[in-house]
Symmetry: C2
Subunit: 193 residues, 2 copies
DNA sequence: TACAATCGTTAACTTAAGTTAAGAATTGAG
DNA sequence: CTCAATTCTTAACTTAAGTTAACGATTGTA
C-alpha cells in the first residue's frame, strides 16, 4: 500500500531508500471503515489526508441538511481549512467507502520539509496544480447547467457516479436528489430516441 | 501608484530600498482604458496581472454568450491558466473600468525569485491564501441558491454590485440577467413588507 | 447634438428545479 | 433471516430560472 504513495511521489521528486524509510517509520497509514468520520464541524485538527484507496467526502450540514462539496479518491489530497487557519472546522469529512489513506499532522509536514527539503518542491508544484484544477472546476460549474455538469462528470469521473450515493452526488452537482433522478431519466429518454 | 504595490508586499515580506528600485525599474505598471482586452481566447501569453486600481474580469464565450466567472479588483492577482500550462487560453480577460495594474511575465517572475529569494516565501503564502479563499467561494457557491449568492455578495463585496454591469454580475452568480432583475425585485419586495 | 449600441427591467410563457409525499429496492445490524 | 433504516425513484404541485420580446434609460461616438 505504501508503494502507491511512493509511486505518486516519484512523479515529482526522487527519494532515496533512507528517505523512504523515514516516511514509513512515521506510521501515517490508516485503513478506515466506510462511514468513519475523520473530521467534524466545530472540531480543530491539524491533520491532512492523502487517499491511497477508497473515497472520502467533504460536506457541510446547513439547516440540518448535508451538502457535499467534494469527493477525494485515489491519489488525491485534502488539507482541511481548519488545519491551515487553526479555526474550528466548518465542515465534516467522512469515508464514502472503506478507505486507506495517510493522515499527516501539518506540523509533521513542516518537520519533513526540514528533513527532506525536496518535499517543498513537490508541495509547491502540487499546490499550483490543485489551484489550477480547482479554478477550472469552478469555472465549469458556474458556466453550466446541472444537466451539463452531470454529463461532464460522466466524461471525467465516471467512477464517482458508480461509487457514490446519488443524494450525495446530487448536492455535489448543486441540486436535490429528486432533481438528479429526473435529470438522469431525461437524459436516458433522449438517448433512447 | 507603485506605493500601493509596496504596501501590499510589505504585509508579507520586507523589501530593501534597492529591491524596490529593482522592481520599479522593471517597468511593469500599466494603465488601461475600460473595455481593453488583456487576453483573448486562443491566445498564448505568459503575463500575470496584479490590480492596483480598477477592475478586470475573466469570461468565457460559450455558444456566443459571455460567461463571466471572476472579477479582480484592488490588490487581487490573476495568473491566467495559459501562463502556467503554455496552452492557448480558454477565456478572455478585459477591463471593467479604467484600470491600473502590473503586468509581469511569468518568466520574469522566476528571475525575481533568484534576485529576491524572499519573494518565494510571499508567493507560497499568497498561493495558499488564494487556494483557501477559492475553496470557500466554491463551497459557498455550490451550497447556496442564486438569491443567497446575491445576498452573500451584498455582504462581502458590495462594491462589485455597484461597479459592474448587471448582466456580467448575473453570469458571475450563475444566472441570466433577467433572473437577476427579478431576484432583486423579489428581495426588494420582501424588505418593503 | 444626434444616433446607434448597450444596458437594465418588465412581461408572458416555457422549462426545470424545489417540495412534499409515497413506495419500492437495497443495505446493515441484530 | 428479519426488520429497520437508508437509498432511489416517481408523482403532483410550487417556485424560480430560462427564453423571447419589447421598451425606456444610459452610454459612447461620429
Amino acid at each position: 500500500m505504501q508503494d502507491l504513495l511512493f509511486d505518486f511521489i516519484s512523479k515529482y521528486v526522487t527519494l532515496t531508500k533512507d528517505e523512504m524509510n523515514d516516511i514509513t517509520s512515521l506510521d501515517i497509514f490508516r485503513t478506515l471503515k466506510k462511514g468513519t468520520i475523520l473530521l467534524k464541524e466545530g472540531q480543530k485538527s491539524k491533520d491532512e489526508y492523502f487517499v491511497l484507496k477508497g473515497c472520502i467526502r467533504k460536506y457541510y450540514i446547513i439547516d440540518g441538511e448535508e451538502k457535499t462539496t467534494a469527493f477525494f479518491t485515489e491519489m488525491e489530497a485534502l488539507t482541511p481549512h481548519c488545519a491551515i487557519n487553526n479555526e474550528p472546522s466548518e465542515y465534516f469529512i467522512s469515508c464514502v467507502e472503506d478507505t486507506t489513506l495517510t493522515v499527516a499532522n501539518i506540523d509533521l509536514g513542516v518537520d519533513l520539509f526540514i528533513k527532506i527539503p525536496k518535499f517543498q518542491i513537490m508541495c509547491s508544484i502540487l499546490s499550483t496544480e490543485i489551484l489550477a484544477k480547482q479554478q477550472i472546476n469552478f469555472d465549469e460549474f458556474k458556466t453550466s447547467s446541472p444537466e451539463q455538469r452531470y454529463l461532464n462528470l460522466l466524461q471525467k469521473r465516471p467512477d464517482l457516479i458508480q461509487r457514490v450515493p446519488q443524494h450525495q452526488l446530487a448536492s455535489y452537482l448543486g441540486i436535490k436528489a429528486e432533481s438528479l433522478s429526473r435529470l438522469k431519466a431525461r437524459i436516458f429518454e433522449k438517448i433512447k430516441k
